[in-house]
């Protein structure tokens, strides 16, 4: 299933946040969205998943979601959004319970194994490190077999070492079983490690500035790779002035 943004414009009261964005999200690929702060990246993601309605234009699903998909558009949040009163297993079960599946326990066991959390099934979120919490959230998202994963700065709340480990995890997950994702980030290193396509937004009102395709296979992109470094420099070149301007703008608000 593909997602398609059709001339989407979004406004909060009279401030244009996003202007005339048309974009295809192809299935089986990770599309990264980068841009200076306040450019409407997260708003774009909320529009994609139906948590907000675009002022103009439309978000369309092209094709039907895969078989066994329980929740086509599934988010992974920056702050994990785990229920603190449920165990790891219970947090994954939460999103399955309404469907009354006969094989719920098997699905939970499978996603916990894929995110290497099997040994922590009975732990409460307060006992877990940030990286583990985000892996639980990823397991929860995988459990509903989503058509598109909508990831809102999923690694931004983590320290840089954990971030590296989780990026490896995501690459591993994708390589074993490709999934479709929209990955919003302000971190260009994450974008060039994980993105098949990188969409660069301009500062507010956000417009598509450029789309960069990276052909290197995900599992061949290593930390500190020279080619990726060059791509990252190129992206930073695109954004640098706008990021500075956006930074200055915030102070005037």
């Amino acid at each position: 299933m593909d997602l398609k943004l059709d001339a989407v414009t979004h406004r909060y009261s009279d401030v244009d946040v996003l202007r005339d964005i048309s974009l295809d999200i192809p299935s089986g690929k990770i599309t990264c969205i980068v841009g200076p702060s306040g450019c409407g990246k997260s708003t774009l993601l909320r529009l994609l998943g139906g948590l907000e309605k675009p002022t103009e234009g439309a978000v369309r699903q092209v094709g039907s979601p895969p078989e066994g998909c329980l929740n086509a558009l599934t988010y992974v949040f920056q702050d994990f959004a785990l229920l603190p009163w449920r165990t790891v297993e219970g947090n994954v079960a939460l999103v399955l319970e309404d469907h009354k599946l006969p094989d719920q326990a098997a699905i939970i066991a499978d996603v916990l194994a894929r995110t290497r959390l099997t040994d922590f099934a009975g732990a409460l979120p307060k006992q877990l490190s940030g990286g583990m919490k985000q892996r639980v959230a990823i397991a929860r998202a995988l459990a509903v077999n989503p058509a598109v994963m909508l990831m809102d700065e999923p690694l931004s709340a983590l320290d840089s070492q954990t971030r590296e480990l989780l990026m490896d995890d995501l690459v591993g997950l994708w390589t074993k079983q490709p999934f479709t994702a929209v990955y919003v980030t302000h971190n260009l290193a994450e974008a060039v490690r994980l993105g098949h396509r990188i969409v660069v937004l301009s500062r507010r009102p956000g417009e598509v500035r450029e789309i960069v395709e990276i052909d290197t296979a995900l599992d061949e992109r290593a930390h500190g790779d020279a080619g990726l470094e060059a791509q990252q420099q190129y992206l930073w070149g695109l954004m640098r002035e706008e990021a500075a301007a956006a930074d200055a703008e915030l102070m005037n608000v």
């Binding site: 948590l51 988010y75 229920l83 009163w85 939460l94 309404d98």
Partner: protein, 261 residues
């Protein structure tokens, strides 16, 4: 010069201190005993604690304790349960629905400050002089603080968790049951500490009219006869009830809120 750096952290974190609460009780009672024996406190001002204890033992041995305690406990249980269930339901509705909030919050604010004791005659007319009016008075008294605590607790539930539930397509009822109610539980339980104590206060008021037995009836009778020993024996029963309620809620909190950081 090599002075040690002064420690200035610490504090501002509650710890469990065992036995201190009991010690405060013991000291106060010992002081009253000493004062009344030495004559510093006259017998009219305060009954001697040992006499109160004697009255209490007598009450127990004569079987009077349970004759009074059991009707009171059942009134408390029925009335408080009704009030808490109604209060939590209305509080959750106010927390979730804009119309319920707009319509009911002023009403709750209007009935909160009414001394429910003042309405006892009205309840007697509405529900009769028997048990029903006593249940109603206690229920009404526990209802308002429970409503206020509950909707404040629902307001404080992390909205990102609710958005998460919506984004996974959870049903409305699942979101309320699995996200809103557990998230509001800490606030609801601390509200219960207040409303259940109000229920104990109102127990005495409820037994002012048409009650032959009950801790409240016992205290009121002793009070009208200026029998301070019996009055205090009754008051001690109420205090013990209060301590019991508080420790039960503490146990429930430790069990249900283990997840809290």
């Amino acid at each position: 010069m090599s002075d040690q750096v002064t420690f200035r952290g610490g504090g501002f974190a509650p710890k469990r201190v065992r036995g201190l609460g009991v010690l405060v009780f013991v000291l106060l009672i010992a002081f009253a005993e000493w004062g009344t024996r030495s004559g510093m406190i006259s017998a009219l001002t305060l009954p001697r604690p040992s006499d109160v204890l004697g009255t209490f033992v007598e009450l127990w041995q004569s079987g009077g304790l349970f004759k009074h305690l059991l009707p009171s406990l059942s009134r408390l249980a029925v009335g408080a349960t009704l009030g808490v269930i109604a209060g939590v339901s209305v509080g959750v509705m106010i927390g979730l629905f804009a119309y319920a909030r707009a319509g009911l919050v002023p009403l709750v604010a209007a009935i909160f400050p009414i001394p429910k004791i003042a309405l006892l005659p009205l309840f007697v007319i509405w529900f009769g002089i028997d048990e029903a009016s006593k249940y109603a008075l206690i229920a009404f008294g526990t209802f308002t603080p429970t409503v206020v605590a509950t909707y404040a607790a629902v307001d404080n539930v992390d909205r990102t968790l609710i958005r998460m539930g919506q984004s996974f397509g959870l049903t409305w009822w699942s979101i309320v049951r699995k996200i809103v109610l557990p998230g509001a539980m800490p606030g609801i339980l601390s509200g219960l500490r207040i409303s259940l104590n109000i229920a104990i206060i109102l127990l005495v008021a409820a037994e002012m009219l048409g009650a032959q037995y009950g801790v409240g009836a016992y205290i009121l009778e002793a009070g009208s006869l200026y029998d301070l020993e019996r009055l205090f024996a009754g008051v001690v029963i109420l205090s013990v009830l209060g301590v019991a309620v508080s420790s039960v809620i503490g146990m429930v909190e430790r069990r249900l809120l283990r997840w809290r950081v």
